[in-house]
Amino acid sequence: MDVSLFPRDMFAELDRLQRQMQQAFEFSPSIRGFARGGFPALNVGSTPQSVEIYAYVPGVDPASIEVSLERGVLTVSGERASGLKGLGPKDTVHIEERFAGKFRRVVTLSDDLDPDAVEAHCKDGLLHISIKRKAAAQPRRITIQ
């Protein structure tokens, strides 16, 4: 970090400082990913043929997760049991950060999706939902005559 002894422009210096602060923060609190957007954390991506949703659902039995798609609105819901159940009277909880309880997340997706072409896989606590777009909505190359 190079700070000149005599800043020529106070505002430029403040601006630079603010940017540095922002950078520093982006690596600490939001790094947890989970606390920010609730449980489960979601990543959504799209390809020309489909929409891909990744839900991070550690410790949830895949069979108990409910996934529904209705008019372009996707709902992922379920319940996660607390890991702190069944504690003895002399047990001490030192850190308690993991989510416990019922969860429900709703995502609005585009309306060109085919509700009959949904696939969901769950592996290692990562639920991957793939929804195909309707054939008519897929981009077509138009030949010029």
Binding site: Y56, I95, E97, R98, F99, D124
Partner: protein
């Protein structure tokens, strides 16, 4: 053992997510649960070096080709968290279990550190 002593971020390494954990202590040892979704058994490392316990894992990210991210809450491909163990914990008595993306780690205490009830004599 207090929380500030148990948690510590790893210095100078590639940025990784800090997985949420639960740590419970009972008379015989400590149980740690860590959320590591997307990490398979092969990509998980649990390492004890002197009194430092390091958990690290890489996610299996098989994404379709040409996918553009439209919304991302998990922005890094791996997890790391470092803990300092206290003396009464025995690294030899360590067992790990990974299920549905949750790591359950059990660390036993050395025999002489387990609580003994002290008999109070009344004269």
């Amino acid at each position: 053992m207090n929380e500030s002593k148990l948690t510590r971020e790893a210095p100078r390494e590639a940025p990784a997510l800090l997985p949420p954990v639960d740590v419970i202590e009972d008379a015989e040892g400590i149980t740690l649960y860590a959320d590591l979704p997307g990490v398979s058994k092969e990509r998980l490392t649990v390492q004890v070096e002197a009194d430092t316990l390091t958990l690290s894992g890489e996610m299996d990210l098989a994404m379709p080709q040409g996918m553009a991210a439209t919304h991302a809450e998990v922005t890094l491909p791996g997890y790391r968290r470092v803990f300092t163990l206290s003396k009464e914990l025995d690294a030899q008595k360590l067992s790990a279990e990974l299920k549905n993306g949750v790591l359950k780690l059990r660390i036993g205490k050395v025999a002489h550190a387990q609580p003994r009830k002290v008999q109070i004599k009344v004269d």
